[in-house]
């Protein structure tokens, strides 16, 4: 893997970087996977946030529900609210966070709690946080 211009820079990883890989988007998955590989190799420093991981979890779960239950993605959030048991049957959203947890050289900024920049927490804490969010707390939104 050849180093690329700007090596050593900090790169913010938004949810779409992980989602292109997870959903194997033909137009972007290879480039996004290569970027993460460069970060893991130490060519860049990856930065992300707990909100990003939450978004990855949420949209991966919607994709899993859409694929498994064959329903439109737009209908998935309402469907999930009516079928909370899907969380036990469809573990790929958890798997996505587990895999990101395993990645090297990605710092998670804890902006979720009002801190930015220097305040960070490690991926184990993020993973623990997401695991503590029960399906009901995650998806029983306003109006329920």
């Amino acid at each position: 893997m050849a180093p690329v211009p700007g090596a050593g820079s900090d790169i913010f990883l938004d949810a779409n970087i992980f989602l292109h890989i997870i959903l194997e988007n033909p137009s972007h998955a290879d480039n996004c996977a290569a970027l993460v590989k460069h970060i893991e190799a130490g060519h860049y420093r990856g930065i992300s946030s707990i909100i990003v991981l939450s978004e990855v979890f949420h949209r991966t779960f919607i994709a899993d529900v859409a694929a498994s239950c064959r329903i439109e993605p737009a209908s998935a959030p309402a469907y999930i609210k009516r079928h909370a048991g899907l969380f036990q049957k469809l573990p790929r959203a958890y798997e996505s966070i587990s895999a990101i947890k395993q990645m090297h050289n990605i710092r998670i900024s804890d902006i979720f709690f009002g801190h930015t920049g220097s305040c960070t927490c490690n991926l184990a804490e993020i993973f623990s946080f997401i695991e503590r969010c029960s399906p009901h707390r995650c998806y029983a939104g306003a109006g329920d």
Partner: protein, 64 residues
């Protein structure tokens, strides 16, 4: 037919962490992914390719 399930290796065998609807004694092929990027790649496969862009980009699907 392709089915992805998670399993844990105990040093000798793979223990499935999910159940699948297959007859007993069905022979299968295992594809082992341990690298985190490989674990992410194609984790969810959508037959409708238009849904990929929708799920990634549609602001109405945001979690907050």
């Amino acid at each position: 037919m392709s089915i992805q399930i998670k399993a844990r290796y105990n040093g000798k065998n793979f223990l499935p962490l999910e159940t699948v609807d297959l007859p007993t004694d069905t022979d299968v092929i295992l594809e082992i992914k341990t690298d985190p990027v490989m674990r992410l790649r194609g984790l969810v496969r959508l037959e409708n390719k238009q849904w990929i862009d929708q799920i990634i980009n549609d602001p109405s699907l945001e979690s907050y």
